[in-house]
């Protein structure tokens, strides 16, 4: 996909999700990782992307109101299983 040493930082930024999703071919993965090993900026970028995903996992979500849950339980009961 890419010739050795041809991956620039701008490419790494574009490929970061494909890398995390394991959607890259083996040769590109090697290129990608070789680039990270010598590029602090891109290594930090990947780290930031992982940090973003991790923080999203801690975003609290509003829940369904108690009234709504109660209504649903009654409806569930009403179906008369």
């Amino acid at each position: 996909m890419t010739a050795p040493g041809q991956l620039d930082c701008v490419d790494v930024v574009d490929l970061v999700t494909d890398y995390l999703e394991r959607a890259l071919d083996d040769a590109t993965v090697r290129e990608f990782e070789a680039h990270l090993a010598i590029c602090d900026g891109c290594d930090a970028y990947l780290d930031q992307m992982r940090g973003t995903i991790d923080r999203l996992g801690h975003v609290p979500l509003a829940s369904l109101s108690a009234d709504a849950v109660q209504t649903l339980v009654l409806a569930f009961r009403d179906v008369g299983r």
């Binding site: 940090g51 801690h58 179906v79």
Partner: protein
């Protein structure tokens, strides 16, 4: 026609049809047997993410609550007819997305155009000025000022600081709808990529592009915050 979906819920492209796991089949049996505790547990577990997805399609929190409630009512009615051609979660979320979209359409006259935009902008995900230009010795590489820095001062694990939480909430709300749905399902609900493709009717490539753009914008918002000094 499958009884699992109404005609408008048929998804054209389904990468893999995950069928209910052994645990899900057991859960399904309990639900069909009228096990209220199992039902309440399921409602509690999934409704938070469902609310968030619904909220992306409708104009108020109340409206999102109604969409989720309506979805669960449809699920209750459809339980016996559910044929298990997808996982239970996929089915429930597909009903949700369709219910939310329908509600969103009827509300659309009152909703600002910006939040209805389905176009997923395709601009650069990182400011091009942060990379060296073609005349540079190292074109396409970070400039010294543009290179990303690691984020310090906030434990990556555990409770988020109030400001970080608010910032992520705002950034999520600002994402185009399809990007937001993918990010919410993948990174907040923790669905796998194939499941998200099934729920939203996306190809794998499409899903990845939406995830990439959505995450990149949230990363950008966080970076601005951490750079600005916290």
């Amino acid at each position: 026609m499958s009884k699992d979906t109404r005609p408008d819920q048929l998804v054209v492209f389904l990468p893999t049809q995950a069928t209910p796991s052994a645990g899900e089949r057991e859960l399904l049996a309990r639900l069909r047997a009228g096990d209220e505790a199992a039902f309440v547990d399921l409602v509690r577990r999934w409704s938070r993410t469902m609310l968030r997805v619904a909220r992306g399609h409708v104009s108020t929190d109340d409206s999102a609550q109604e969409v989720v409630q309506e979805t669960w009512l449809a699920v209750i009615k459809g339980l016996d007819g559910f044929e298990g051609r997808s996982s239970l979660r996929t089915w429930v979320f597909r009903v949700l997305v369709n219910t939310a979209k329908t509600r969103g359409v009827t509300e659309s006259r009152m909703t600002p155009m910006s939040s209805l935009a389905t176009g997923d902008d395709d601009g650069a995900i990182v400011d091009p000025d942060r990379f060296r230009g073609p005349a540079d010795r190292y074109p396409g590489h970070w400039t010294s000022a543009g290179a990303p820095q690691r984020w310090d001062g906030d434990p990556p694990r555990g409770a988020l600081r109030v400001e970080v939480r608010a910032l992520l909430e705002a950034a999520l709300a600002g994402l185009p709808q399809r990007q937001r749905n993918v990010v919410v399902l993948r990174d907040i609900e923790g669905c796998g990529s194939d499941e998200v493709c099934q729920i939203l009717g996306l190809t794998r490539e499409n899903q990845r592009v939406l995830l990439h753009r959505g995450r990149a914008k949230l990363r950008g918002a966080l970076e601005t915050y951490y750079r600005g000094g916290s």
